[in-house]
Each structure stands twice: as structure tokens, then as C-alpha cells.
């Protein structure tokens, strides 16, 4: 049975290879092949899942050792897979949502002449992501880690002819690289500390080394997580990543890849559990990002960017939960899964809307769309309810548990975290309601779509219907079906998972679990959550539902303006890193030319000059030659005598 594991990765990898190397002759069938292989991978996953259920909680983990990758003396990295409950959860999420989004893309990318390559990239992503979650050692995980980075780079920059897209892709890769530095240093630390970096031994031996070392490792891992999961301070790339086609945003930048950080931390639980300081750092990062994302989400008028902000903030929840240790891991993952459903659904919805609106992304130019695209409206709506944590829907179950856990942390920390998470919930409710209202309610504010380049994320078709009045319409089946399915997920998943906390027990063998007891009983927490979200909704409704939404964004408060610019984080980067870097390199280039080269050329020149002067002695007059001979002889004699000291 474990031999199937490799196939999980192999199937999409094959797809990627065929589609990318296949050439034009595959253009017609390419997308079908890609989707098929994604589905195949999902089926295999399902088979393995049921097989796993068939076994007792303890012997569910499977191992598959393919071959030894880099063996150098004591340094042993293998291509080997480990499929336990945690990985399994991810496998299902990735392949499942992945397949749906493949299907969605068939319709969405219909008009793109490079659709084959798009599917190739998607398959590549699936393969890499599966490698990431299936790896049984950190180096192989790193392989997948950078693999997904590459895929995301390729997909964000899929419309390379747009400078904005190319730049966004590059930015994403670079910021991620900074995170990767963390991961590689963490691996080196593990190697020098434990002599290995395979999950099993490392996590087993975690207790045997000093807390300082573990904290260091933990912080490095956190840095990695920040990069991949767009957590403060490495969050800046996610917003720009929305340059990519919407399915990409849904799959990679909402459902799966960006959650890798959570996976990493949960997977390394043993290390963090033994390093409280590192855990604290994790929690802080989570909390900060949670609010950061939420605030940004409130200010954006670009629907995808608003959703991106929300993604950031939701992942903040997960990271925070993961930082709480055994009381949080399970809920972090659970929220991750449910979030996977509804956020993917929301993005697909957004995509569908844009599809109908000439790829207009500015919500201020939407409004009243519910009549024109009912399916989208319903599915989007359900997703909306889920994310704000409307009681009964998925988001409610997972988020509420996280808030509880936050309080359960105990002490002042507990109170602060609890407050933050609550506040977050409120803001979430606010900005999601805002999105909902601006998009589907109120009067229509459509305008002729300007041409591609003006709009930051105009999709390729934009050119041909630039300037025409949009006539909103429902999207084709291939797009709506996935949305519906995801909507189901976002409604019921949470509930299912929480039936006598099935999910927690499912993960327990891997992540361990201890029940957290919030100082104010669970019921109180839940209640306050609901209250807070109602407040949020209320404010939003008051602001956008009651009075018409201005088509041009008002100047807004200082905070609003800052939030529109991602709280000025990019400006900071630009001034400090980009400008500073340019100056540094330019001056270095200059130095290399003048100083390093100059020294050498200078020496050469001085020798030449000396030569020129000595040359003058050769003045052509025989008598002066005689003088030099005479003098020379004199010196010779003198020297000889001096040697003797006569």
C-alpha cells in the first residue's frame, strides 16, 4: 500500500513533464490531461485514506523509502515519504481542491493560448506541494518548499507580458527566498545538533539538546513559515501575488501553499514544545499578522486584494493556534482545512464575478450583481458566512476553537491573545460584509472597463473588451460546479470535523492534543465571538449598505490610506531595501572598477612610467655610456673593497 505514496507525487509530476515538454501538439488535449492526472492523484489519496482508516490510530503512519538522495559520510538525505494523518489531511485538501480548481480553470482559461502551459504549471505545483507534505525529512521538505515557490513564481508571472505580473512574481520568489534562508539554516542547525534532519530522529531527540539551540531552530523555522505563509514581516508579496490568474490565487495563495508554514510549525511541534520562547515568537507573529491582514483587508477596493488580506489574517489565526502548542495544533490544521474550502470558494467566486465583469476588479464598480449571477452569489455568500464564522458553518467551528485555545493559553498572554483573536473575528466580519455588499448588493455602478495596463490586474482577455460596457452573466458549468462543491465544503466540513471532535482525535497521534480550558468557559467565548461578529457586520452594513458606495474611493482616514498601501510596508521595503540595494551595488561596481582594478592597473602604469624614465638614460651619447661604465666600475671596486672591509 505504501508504494502508492510515490504515485501521489508522480501523477502530477508526469503531467507537468508532458505538458511543459510536449509542445504545441498537446495544446488541444493538454488541459484535460492535466485535470485527469490531478484527479488521479486525488483518487490515490482517497484510496490511501480509506486504507488508513482501516488501521488502528497508532499504526496508521506509512513510510516509503525510494532511494538515497545525497549521501556524504554522516550526511544522509533520502528521497523517502511519510504518510501519517497530518500529511493525509493535506494530501486530501491539496488534491481535492486542486482537482476542483483544475476543472474551474478549464473554463476560466479557455481564451488563453498558453492554457497548456498553465495546466503544466498547476500540475507542477501539485507535485511540489505533495512532496512538501509527504517528505520524511526536512531537506526533502525543503525541496518541495522551493518547488511550490517556483510554481507560484511561474503562475503569478503567468502573464509575463505585463511588467506588473513579472515584478510581482519576482518579488514573491525573493521574499520567499529570505524565508528559505531560515529553513536552510534550521536544517544546518539540526544537522550539527542531531547529526540528521529526518523528522523521526530529530523530533524524537528534540528533548536531548539545550533549549537555546531549540529556540534557534524554532525561530529559523518560523522565519521560513513567515516567508511562505505571508506572515509579518515577510507578508508583502501576497497582495501583489494577486497578479496571477484567479484560480492560482484560489489554489496557491489561499487554499494550499500559503498554509505550508502552518504545516511546518505543526510538523516541528516537538521542537517548539520544548522551546517556549520560539513558541511565543510564533504566537506574536500570528497575532500581529492576524490584525495586519484584517486591517488591510478593510481598506482594499480590489476584490482579490481584499480577499488576500483576509487570507493573510486567517493564516495569522492558524499560526497563532500552532504557536499555542498541543492545545492549538489540531485546531490550526482544522481551520486550515475549512479555510481551504471557503477561501478557495470565495476566490473562485471573485473570479467568476470578474469573468462576468470584463475582468473588472474594483468592487466600487460592481454592485447589485446578485441578480445577474445567482449561483456565484449563493456560493460566495455561503463562503462569506463561513469565513466570518457564522454559527454552524465551517469557519465558526474552527475559528471559535482557536479563540478558545487562545484564551486557554492562560495568564495575561491568554487574555491578550483572546482579545486579539476576538477583535480579528470582528474585523473579519466587517471587511467580508463590506466585500459582500459592495459586490452583490446596492445599485449597479458598472463602467466601461479601461484597457489592460491601467488596471493593476487586468486579465488577458481584457484587451479585446476594453472600453465596452460589461454585461454581467453567470459563468459556465465548468466554473460553477467547483464553486458549488466548495460551498458544500464551507458549509458542512467544520461541523463534520467537530462531531465528537473527530478531527482532533484523527490528528492526535501526530500532533498530540491536550484540552485547553479558557478562564471564562467555552460557552462564554462562543457567545462573545458571535456578538463581536454581529457588531462587525453591523458597522459594515451601516457604512456600505445604508448609503450608496462612491465609485471613486474617498480619501479616507490616515489609517485607511495606510492600509490601502499595505500599511506602508512596501514603501519601507522600497526605500530601505530596493533603493539602498541599488546604491550599494552601484557603488560596489564603481569600486570594483576603480579600486580593485585600479590597484593592478596602477602598478602596471607605475612600472611603465619607471621604464619611461629609465629609458631617458639611454641618451645615445657614447660618452655618457662610458660614464656609466666608469661609475659602475668604481662602484664595483668600492663594493668589493667594502666586502673585505678594507
Amino acid at each position: 500500500m505504501e508504494n502508492l505514496i510515490a504515485l501521489l507525487v508522480a501523477a502530477p509530476l508526469l503531467g507537468a513533464a508532458v505538458l511543459l515538454c510536449g509542445g504545441r501538439r498537446l495544446d488541444r488535449a493538454g488541459h484535460r490531461l492535466g485535470t485527469l492526472l490531478a484527479a488521479a492523484s486525488f483518487v490515490i489519496g482517497a484510496v490511501l485514506f480509506f486504507d488508513m482508516l482501516g488501521r488502528g490510530a497508532e499504526e496508521r503512519a506509512l513510510h516509503q523509502h525510494l532511494f538515497s538522495w545525497v549521501p556524504v559520510e554522516s550526511f544522509r538525505a533520502d528521497i523517502a515519504f511519510q504518510l501519517d494523518q497530518l500529511s493525509m489531511t493535506f494530501v486530501l485538501l491539496i488534491t481535492g481542491v486542486g482537482t476542483l480548481i483544475h476543472v474551474y480553470s478549464i473554463g476560466y482559461m479557455e481564451h488563453d493560448e498558453r492554457r497548456r502551459r498553465f495546466f503544466g504549471y498547476l500540475n507542477l505545483f501539485l507535485a511540489a506541494m505533495l512532496l512538501l507534505v509527504l517528505a520524511d525529512n526536512y531537506l526533502l521538505l525543503y525541496f518541495g518548499w522551493e518547488g511550490v515557490g517556483l510554481a507560484s513564481y511561474l503562475l503569478i508571472g503567468f502573464w509575463q507580458h505585463k511588467p506588473s505580473a513579472a515584478t510581482a512574481a519576482k518579488k514573491a520568489f525573493l521574499v520567499n527566498r529570505v524565508g528559505d534562508m531560515g529553513l536552510s539554516i534550521a536544517i544546518m542547525l539540526m544537522f550539527t545538533t542531531f547529526g540528521t534532519f529526518a523528522f523521526g530522529p530529530v523530533l524524537a531527540a528534540a528533548g536531548e539538546t539545550g533549549e537555546g539551540m531549540l529556540t534557534a531552530i524554532g525561530l529559523m523555522l518560523l522565519l521560513a513559515a513567515c516567508g511562505k505563509s505571508a506572515q509579518v514581516p515577510l507578508q508583502s508579496w501576497l497582495g501583489d501575488a494577486m497578479e496571477g490568474p484567479t484560480p492560482v490565487s484560489a489554489l496557491i495563495h489561499a487554499a494550499t501553499m500559503v498554509t505550508a508554514g502552518v504545516y511546518l510549525i505543526t510538523r516541528s511541534g516537538a521542537i517548539f514544545n520544548a522551546a517556549p520562547d520560539a513558541q511565543l515568537a510564533v504566537v506574536v507573529v500570528g497575532a500581529v499578522t492576524l490584525l495586519f491582514g484584517a486591517i488591510v483587508g478593510c481598506a482594499k477596493d480590489d476584490i482579490k486584494k481584499a480577499l488576500a488580506g483576509s487570507t493573510m489574517s486567517q493564516i495569522g489565526y492558524m499560526i497563532l493556534a500552532a504557536g499555542l502548542g498541543p492545545i492549538g495544533y489540531a485546531f490550526a490544521i482544522m481551520h486550515l482545512v475549512t479555510h481551504g474550502f471557503f477561501k478557495a470558494g470565495l476566490f473562485l467566486g471573485a473570479g467568476s464575478v470578474m469573468h462576468g465583469m470584463n475582468d473588472e476588479v474594483d468592487m466600487r464598480k460592481y454592485g447589485g450583481l446578485r441578480k445577474y449571477m445567482p449561483v456565484t452569489f449563493v456560493t460566495f455568500g455561503l463562503g462569506y458566512l463561513a469565513i466570518i464564522g457564522f454559527p454552524g458553518l465551517s469557519g465558526f467551528w474552527s475559528k471559535d476553537k482557536i479563540i478558545e485555545a487562545a484564551f486557554a493559553k492562560g495568564g495575561t498572554e491568554g487574555w491578550i491573545l483572546g482579545a486579539v483573536t476576538l477583535l480579528g473575528a470582528g474585523i473579519t466580519a466587517y471587511y467580508m460584509t463590506r466585500v459582500m455588499i459592495m459586490t452583490f448588493f446596492g445599485e449597479k455602478r458598472w463602467q466601461p472597463a479601461p484597457d489592460a495596463d491601467a488596471v493593476p490586474s487586468a486579465e488577458p482577455a481584457a484587451e479585446d473588451h476594453a472600453g465596452r460596457m460589461p454585461h454581467p452573466h453567470e459563468s459556465p458549468k465548468s466554473m460553477t460546479v467547483p464553486m458549488i462543491l466548495l460551498a458544500f465544503g464551507s458549509v458542512f466540513a467544520g461541523g463534520l470535523f467537530s462531531l465528537n471532535s473527530a478531527f482532533v482525535h484523527w490528528l492526535e497521534p501526530v500532533t498530540a492534543f491536550e484540552h485547553g480550558h479558557p478562564p471564562i468557559g467555552a460557552a462564554a467565548v462562543t457567545a462573545s465571538t458571535v456578538v463581536v461578529l454581529l457588531i462587525g457586520v453591523g458597522i459594515a452594513y451601516a457604512q456600505y449598505g445604508r448609503k450608496p458606495v462612491p465609485v471613486v474611493a474617498p480619501r479616507g482616514s490616515l489609517l485607511t490610506r495606510a492600509a490601502r498601501r499595505d500599511l506602508l510596508q512596501d514603501d519601507f521595503n522600497h526605500v530601505v531595501l530596493v533603493r539602498g540595494g541599488e546604491h550599494l551595488t552601484r557603488s560596489l561596481v564603481y569600486m570594483d572598477h576603480t579600486l580593485v582594478d585600479g590597484v593592478v592597473n596602477g602598478t602596471a602604469a607605475s612600472v611603465g612610467g619607471l621604464s619611461g624614465r629609465l629609458r631617458k638614460l639611454q641618451n645615445g651619447f657614447a660618452r655618457s655610456y662610458a660614464v656609466s661604465m666608469f661609475g659602475g666600475t668604481a662602484v664595483l671596486i668600492a663594493a668589493t673593497l667594502l666586502m673585505r672591509g678594507v
Binding site: 629609458r615 631617458k616 639611454q618 641618451n619 645615445g620 651619447f621 657614447a622 660618452r623 662610458a626 660614464v627 666608469f630
Partner: protein
């Protein structure tokens, strides 16, 4: 009278000759100065020969004269041809090649 004085004389003549080579322009004169130096050598040789009481020095002196004669032949040939083509026997004029 101490024959060592002949050595002093010899060195004196030699120096005068050398000085002449360094100072005088006319190739012929320069050449004569060289001859003077050779003669200084002869004087020294003979003096030494006398001191050591063997004949080697004097033999060498004879050889030197022969050599000097040969040098004169070659030297004058060259200097004369130079003079004929330049109408000047000044050593300093012959400085086409330099640096």
C-alpha cells in the same frame, strides 16, 4: 726610488686616459685616450714584472702593444668611414640611436 711609484704613475695615466674618454668629443682623441690607458697598463705590467722579477709582465706588455696596433687599424678604419659619411669625427654627433 720605490717602484711602487710607477704604479701610482700608471694609475694616474690610466685615470687621465679614462677622463679623456669621458670628456673629449673628437673620436680620434677619445681613441688616443684609450691608447693612453693601454699604455698605463703596460707601465704597470712592466713595473710589476720588475718587482716580481719574472718576465710575464713584460711579455704581456708586448702582446698589449700588438693588440693596440690591431685596435688602431680597426678603430681608425671605422672612425674614418664615419668621418667620411658625416664630415665630423665628433662622438656626440653619432647619436641616431637612443632611448
Amino acid at each position: 726610488m720605490n717602484p711602487v711609484n710607477y704604479l701610482y704613475l700608471a694609475s694616474l695615466l690610466f685615470t687621465i686616459g679614462a677622463a679623456g674618454v669621458l670628456i673629449r668629443r673628437n673620436a680620434i682623441v677619445v681613441f688616443m685616450c684609450v691608447e693612453l690607458m693601454l699604455n698605463a697598463c703596460n707601465l704597470a705590467l712592466v713595473a710589476f714584472s720588475r718587482m716580481h722579477g719574472n718576465l710575464d709582465g713584460q711579455i704581456i706588455a708586448f702582446f698589449t702593444m700588438v693588440v693596440a696596433a690591431a685596435e688602431v687599424v680597426v678603430g681608425l678604419a671605422i672612425i674614418v668611414s664615419l668621418f667620411r659619411s658625416r664630415h665630423s669625427a665628433s662622438v656626440d654627433d653619432a647619436s641616431l640611436m637612443k632611448l
